[in-house]
Point group: C2
Chain length 215, copies 2
Amino acid sequence: MTKDATTKTDADSPMHATKQRLIGAGLQMLLKHGYNDMGIQALLAATGTPKGSFYHHFRDKEDFALQVLDSYMAAVHDGLDACLQDASRPPLARVRDFFETTQRSYREEGYMGCLIGGLGQELSGISEVFRAKIAECFSAIAGRIAGCLEEARQRGDIPAGCNVRELADLLVDCWEGAALRSRLERKPDALNTMLDFYMGAVAGGGGVGQGTAPA
Amino acid sequence: MTKDATTKTDADSPMHATKQRLIGAGLQMLLKHGYNDMGIQALLAATGTPKGSFYHHFRDKEDFALQVLDSYMAAVHDGLDACLQDASRPPLARVRDFFETTQRSYREEGYMGCLIGGLGQELSGISEVFRAKIAECFSAIAGRIAGCLEEARQRGDIPAGCNVRELADLLVDCWEGAALRSRLERKPDALNTMLDFYMGAVAGGGGVGQGTAPA
DNA sequence: AAATCGGAATAGACCGGTCGGTCTAATGAA
DNA sequence: TTCATTAGACCGACCGGTCTATTCCGATTT
């Protein structure tokens, strides 16, 4: 079995500076332009990289985007680690904290939204590779959140009969929709409203849908 | 009012058959490929149209996509008309009916999702024209739904303190996220779960998050 | 230490293909 | 006639990707 050099994010190699630079700039460009509108030439010009280097480090454009996605997912998992594992806080608060942190990072990027959602929309119709990969990304994130919701369920913070996996998938899905809206409107309101609604509803309760008072 | 059953993309022109054909095929291709991956050549080949006809009816590719979007929105408004105006049914049931109808149409198209959401994700970062237009599309749909929710509020079907416009925006946003997930997984589960959750939560209540039993 | 070697990485000219878009001419209906 | 529409050859630009050449740098040899 030949060694699969593609799509590896892990750090068994030093990951040369040039490759890092390309992936970093590629993330920004993919967030803004999406896949099809991001040109290799533009990426090389923006980073001052000759073409030979790019095709030395990446098999082709698809391989590159998949590795950018791996890098993005690694950052997401880091965020999940940082938020969900703080055993001193109630599990629902940890989940909320993760999404509030994510929302902050969206703003810092200028409301370009979520790379996974963006590439998913653009490519799921034309690339089985991306479709499957991105579905797996969402599933992985939801899996992490489901674990935290299960803690909440066992503490009685959410109803015992809940299907935590379904609730976690739902949260991720709604989040992506709100992220699109926030991207379109260049403001975080949709994200905040969605999070308030979800947390209110899942915790069993009162006050649902009574956000900001009507004007 | 003209008979013009199909779309009122433009004012009151009879809308030539060739133009109709291009818009119809363009909708399918834009749903599957998105904007940047949809080639004019491919569209012309698929419809047997010479290039001269295309550029006679449309200024350029952007103009074409915008008109496809207009046509799509007209269909959405037709769906809203058909579902939301049936005064014999409770308003919340009408809202639900609209989304269930929409979900059925997604399946019939092979789970290509929503054109508005797809183009929104792909183009909002690079085209101010599309960004503003698509934001307006979502706003218009949410406005229609908010009207129906207001009826529900006045009947006491949802809490009196609700901000119906916010609730309607939220519904549209979460729907789009679930539509993306359903597209990625080629199945409607995410859409159904989302709708159940929303309706349960907004109506004030019980049973939230207790969908299908775990396997 | 100096010389040498070899693969990794850089460098950019170059390629075929396709893209969106233009142009001129033929055709059809009023 | 007149003008909207059809028809498709044609265009320059740019795309992703290949190719050959060069440079860099640590390991090996002496």
